[in-house]
Point group: C2
Chain length 332, copies 2
């Protein structure tokens, strides 16, 4: 009996000692510390657990673990205006300083005067022309530098921080968690591909070759012995709405297993991801936190959020409630 008790004691001691290391729940630190415990966090953890379970019925081979993320409003703040729009306005003002004759054009005049009504009255075509005017007439390396220089000094009007500080910490953790589980993470942005690429590696750990976005036409030429790629004043591809699955098919050539968005511009990407056989996951970041960020339920300044939210319950898409599901929004 003594022998038995003693063995029992030793086994108990060993279990106590090994317990935390042996149990999966204790073995690793929480991979999503900026997410509050709750349905959203549990659903994400459960899905990743299922698709990475060797031999499980929902196992997805590593090479098929493709995850696609919208950028504006999904990975960083898009209010009070798209960051790229702030860049365009600053760039237009700079252009008028360098070429005062531009101020005779209505769109540049409205910007210099801060006349938002006049700007709005120019309609989509006026804004598209402005986009083209500020994004062409230079080579790609010059534009890349213009974006990096601007981001280094520009500040968000409300938070008075660099825009790249306003990336969502819970989403940065989610990206890292997916990569740690064999996923390849991509950005699929309605914004300009060359506006997004210069900073995503540092901000999100996503390299330029995993960024998809809208783009203008370009042309290669040899300038003496210096090759340049020139940005032309012509839109090539709009990576928004139904353009997102088209862009994903063009750039990746596989259907994602995981996708995240926040607006109707992401609707078709979420459909393309989830309306397929096998395990699939989609989430919508719902902006419900006026205090720490912005609250703009179904109608934002920058786009509708109606259809995606309506489809979510029917499709089983997770709606993330920023106010309740996120412990932290930005890194302090």
């Amino acid at each position: 009996m003594i022998g038995h008790t003693r063995r029992g004691f030793i086994v108990a001691l060993a279990l106590l000692a090994l317990g935390p290391a042996a149990s999966g729940a204790w073995a690793q630190a929480d991979p999503l510390p900026s997410w509050n415990d709750g349905n959203a966090k549990s659903a994400i953890l459960a899905f990743v657990g299922r698709v990475t379970q060797q031999g499980g019925s929902d196992f997805v081979p590593v090479e098929e673990r493709i995850a696609t993320f919208d950028n504006d409003g999904t990975l960083w703040t898009e209010q009070p205006m798209y960051v790229q729009a702030a860049f365009i306005l600053d760039r237009a003002k700079q252009m008028v300083k360098e070429h005062p004759e531009l101020a005779q054009q209505p769109v540049f005049k409205a910007i210099v005067d801060g006349d938002t009504a006049a700007l709005a009255s120019l309609g989509e075509q006026g804004l598209a022309d402005l986009m083209i005017a500020t994004h062409s007439g230079m080579d790609t390396e010059t534009f890349d530098k213009a974006v990096s220089d601007w981001l280094a000094t520009a500040r968000h009007p409300r938070f008075q921080r660099p825009y790249t500080d306003l990336v969502y910490q819970p989403m940065v953790e989610l990206l890292a968690y997916l990569r740690a589980n064999g996923f390849k993470t991509f950005i699929v942005s309605g914004g300009g591909i060359e506006f997004v690429r210069p900073w995503t590696e540092k901000a999100y750990g996503i390299p330029p070759e995993q960024v998809i976005g809208s783009s203008g036409k370009t042309r290669y030429r040899l300038d003496g012995d210096t090759p340049v790629i020139e940005k032309l004043p012509e839109v090539d591809f709009v990576d928004d709405g139904p353009g997102k699955p088209v862009g994903i098919n063009r750039f990746i050539g596989r259907r994602p297993v995981f996708a995240a968005g926040n607006s109707d511009g992401d609707l078709q990407m979420l459909q393309w991801t989830t309306l397929n056989t096998g395990p699939r996951f989609a989430l919508i970041v719902h902006h419900t936190d006026a205090e720490r960020e912005y609250a703009y339920d179904r109608q934002s300044l920058v786009g509708k959020l109606d259809k995606a939210l309506d489809e979510a319950p029917r499709r089983g898409w997770l709606v993330v409630d920023m106010k309740n599901d996120w412990r932290t929004i930005y890194k302090p």
Copy 2:
């Protein structure tokens, strides 16, 4: 003295025993066994050694180690015609079987009759129309399957082997060697992106998201609750010649450090890669082996090879002589 001799003997024995393992040259197996020893192989090994040497003046950080490879004639055999052209001809014949009324169109009639003179007389527009007719009017997943099914049964007319057997073993080794040294390898093909993607992961270890190629326009639509991406009868992007740097910039967003091609269609990619600061490497596969593959020096059936070969010495590009530099061409 005895002691000394004995010690010397033991040391000699130890060196003999350790020698192969201790010496760098012997420590690892030859990473390029299908390359003959010589300038070409040495130049590749020396370059990779330099850019991966931590603290060396030519060190390139892992995230910038981008390598781009042409496909036809660089990674697999492109004679007597592009493999995709053989696919188009077989597909056109199949289409006539299913829709006999097509035989009234001159291009389909020429194919069914095997009338190459009539086919040639249709010119570039006729061939472009044929390309479009055989590559559209279906969704992307159906096309993907059509390519895979065809490759499973089609045979090369001379070697009587599946086309995917006719990948160059020395280049497959080079791709693997670069990846083992932290490079990300991409295909940059003039061929159709959707013709190349279905088989490159197996043949080269290159996943679909690292394949760039020519493409037609596509459109997303929801067919009931099934999302499809439809192939439209319109060319979107030609990834050849000056289109290659444009495609690299669009898809990768960084300039390569290493590039390989074989024809004038690769000229601008090699320029874009090498005419830059920092260590850069470019090579041209020169087809000199009529016995084991094909010899077509400066003029092939399928494209000019003049300008790239002329520029090579001036730019310091390596010209690989298939006959002399490659021990093996295909896997037996």
